[in-house]
């Protein structure tokens, strides 16, 4: 194939609206863009003037899938800006609800958005007719994850009990006991999921990539805390210095900014990046599943982001059981919210399902937000997706694939990143009169 024009308007089975535009003239790629056409969101602009404690509840509305992740990054940033030190119970509960969000989001992506590709159907709805057990299993696991979010955060989505300084709701120990029972029962579902994924053929494509993620100093598989590392730079960068590590740029064809690092023109965040930087920290059961699926670090095939998500599901399931045990052993007690010591600048980092998320706030002397910056995982991945597509195209053209097959493969690549385009589109900086 010498000349190809691909123009996918609204890639399906991703969050939000994005297009793929590729033009190949006489065997040469003359245009290759992942166009982000979703409207900007303006969250950073309308946070200005709001009170410090409102930010988590406003920013959790950035996304219905990652609402716990946004709340987590937001409360961490606000605590850094106000000198609040949280209790160990709060930290455990936040880790538990973040695990649950990873579970529900990964399962949604794997079963509802990615798996239909491998079964050759357009969506999960026809899959339900042909493979009802597969879909029922997915729904069962997702329901459990959502129920954990509700038990800890007060709602299935957009948690209302998470605040800077702690929780306004004490989780009922009886609910935790029941959730632990369901998590233990869910092991069989996860194993069946892993067995299903061993039967799926993952496209072979490799490109050396910088993988950026958190890595904790306390031995945890870093989702909640840690410093920012990569396979190219293992020395951790702390939250307050993130702007030296994450460089945002505006590109004409995207309503979301692109990012680069001091060590590469583009980089990847997300489950595969976390796995590549933290595989040694996984729960033993998750390590077994990684081995079963043939995953080993450093894996530079982005299609294996799906595999890494599944491995993380097993880890989060087991880690949640252990957190619940610890909470029950310690005994849950009602704790007042910790009050701020001062008002200043703060940055919060958290690993959310699609990768590393940053929230930064500047507060005035009265605790009013005077500036904010949100750097979203999908925005960080966009340049890397384009680089992958650019590297993949010659191979696709050489295999004699049809235009439709090439288009499908490019869409699969985009979907493998599990992008949340709606979250990422926010770059316009409005100075309100």
């Amino acid at each position: 194939v010498k000349n190809v024009t691909i123009d996918v308007k609204h890639i399906t089975r991703v969050e939000g609206h994005g297009n793929i535009a590729v033009k190949v003239d006489d065997g040469e790629i003359t245009r290759l863009e992942l166009q982000i056409v979703e409207s900007p969101r303006y969250f950073e602009a309308f946070l200005r003037g709001r009170r410090w404690y409102e930010a988590p509840h406003i920013t959790c509305r950035v996304c219905g899938i990652c609402s716990v992740g946004h709340t987590t990054a937001s409360v961490k940033a606000m605590e850094a800006a106000t000198g609040i030190e949280i209790t160990e119970q709060t930290r455990l509960l936040r880790r538990l609800i973040l695990n649950a969000e990873h579970l529900q989001s990964h399962l949604l992506h794997l079963y509802f958005l990615a798996v239909p590709d491998f079964f050759g159907v357009g969506s999960v709805i026809p899959l339900a007719a042909t493979h009802p057990d597969v879909v029922k299993r997915a729904l069962r696991m997702k329901r459990l994850a959502n129920d954990i979010c509700a038990a800890v955060g007060g709602r299935h989505i957009h948690p209302i009990a998470l605040h800077a300084g702690g929780f306004t709701h004490t989780t009922d120990p009886k609910e935790l006991v029941e959730l632990k029972r369901r998590l233990e029962a869910s092991r069989a579902d996860l194993l069946e999921t892993a067995e299903l994924f061993t039967t799926l053929e993952v496209p072979e494509f490799h490109r050396p990539t910088e993988y950026v993620a958190l890595r904790a100093t306390n031995g945890e598989y870093a989702l909640y805390g840690g410093g920012m590392v990569s396979n190219l730079q293992p020395e951790p960068t702390e939250a307050g210095a993130y702007r030296k590590r994450v460089m945002e740029t505006v590109v004409q064809h995207s309503a979301a900014k692109h990012t680069r690092s001091p060590y590469a023109d583009c980089y990847m965040v997300g489950a595969l990046a976390r796995y590549n930087n933290n595989a040694d920290r996984l729960h033993p059961e998750a390590k077994k599943v990684a081995a079963m699926l043939g995953l080993s670090p450093v894996c530079d095939n982005p299609f294996h982001n799906n595999t890494a998500q599944l491995v993380e599901c097993v880890h989060c399931n087991e880690d949640s059981v252990e957190i619940i045990d610890e909470l029950l052993t310690r005994g849950l007690k009602s704790e007042p919210l910790v009050e701020p010591e001062h008002f200043g600048r703060g940055v919060g980092m958290a690993e959310v399902p699609r990768g590393l998320l940053f929230h930064e706030y500047e507060l005035d002397d009265d605790g009013i937000i005077s500036g904010s910056n949100l750097v979203i995982p999908t925005g960080q991945n966009l340049a890397n997706i384009e680089a992958d597509m650019r590297a993949m195209m010659p191979g696709l053209l050489a295999t004699g694939m049809s235009k439709e097959q090439i288009t499908h493969r490019l869409e699969m690549l985009v979907r493998a990143y599990d992008p949340c385009i709606s979250c990422a589109t926010h770059f316009l900086d409005i100075e309100w009169a």
Binding site: E15, G16, R61, A128, R143, R155, H156, A161
Partner: protein, 251 residues
């Protein structure tokens, strides 16, 4: 959750008047048992008219006397509205009931022009219809009632409502095949549940039309005013349906 896309009619009956496009699925309701009814109110709190399905289901859950609309304000809904300070209080109250199952199996006489009829149902307030409508832990039911909102148009003004039979007549337009998860609303959830053979034969959707689906703590006046009548209609319809069943104990 979400605004349903309304409405196009389909011809799904053959010349003999038989319905031809729904498959026989395992139905609930063992012989001799009281018909089982499940009511699922769908929507999103704090999203203006979108929460109408939740509010209507909540009224049914609390049973009568209705909080308002019958000359009584003795049982106001617990949801705050308006002031900033009320917002978190409101949300916490809402959270305590979201998607919790309320078992209304104890028969209850309903006052206020309903002739002492008895309505027993399991009510769910759902912000996540995909999971709640496919929840196989609920057990089989004989009648599923879904309450949701749709965008008003020239034929369906804000505050009007309509019952749709999921299997006959007007239908909810389905999303395109290649869906994203933002499109996984009530229509997809029902289709998914149907494909998983989790829907009973009788599925009614009560659609309340609204116009204000933005971020707002409360509904528009037209939609709020319509809810008591919608609840009344649901009670009447469900009661008639139960009475029409051969095994009912209803008078």
């Amino acid at each position: 959750m979400g605004v349903m896309t309304m409405i196009q009619y389909r011809n799904n009956t053959n010349q003999e008047g038989e319905h031809k496009d729904w498959r026989p699925v395992p139905r609930g309701g063992a012989a001799g048992a009281e018909p089982r009814v499940r009511i699922v109110g769908c929507g999103r709190w704090s999203m203006g008219d979108d929460q109408a399905g939740l509010v209507a289901a909540d009224m049914l859950r609390r049973r009568c006397p209705l909080p308002y609309g019958r000359g009584s304000d003795a049982h106001p809904l617990p949801y705050g509205r308006g002031s900033d300070a009320d917002q978190l209080t409101y949300a916490r109250h809402a959270a305590s009931s979201v998607a919790r199952q309320a078992d209304l199996s104890t028969p209850k006489n309903v006052e206020g022009g309903t002739d002492g009829r008895v309505v027993a149902a399991t009510v769910t307030l759902s912000e996540q219809p995909l999971l709640d409508l496919t929840d196989d832990r609920i057990g089989p039911v004989d009648l599923l009632v879904v309450i949701d909102t749709a965008l008003a148009d020239e034929h369906h003004p804000a505050g009007s409502f309509q019952r749709i039979d999921y299997r006959h007549g007007a239908r909810i337009r389905q999303e395109p095949v290649g869906i994203d998860t933002h499109s996984l609303g009530v229509a997809s959830a029902l289709q998914l549940a149907d494909n998983l053979e989790l829907l009973p034969e009788h599925v009614w959707i009560y659609v309340l039309f609204g116009r204000a689906f933005g971020r707002d703590l409360w509904m528009s006046g037209a939609v709020e005013a319509a809810i008591p009548a919608l609840v009344e209609l649901i009670e009447v319809d469900v009661t008639k349906w139960i009475r029409s069943r051969p095994c009912t104990s209803l008078p």
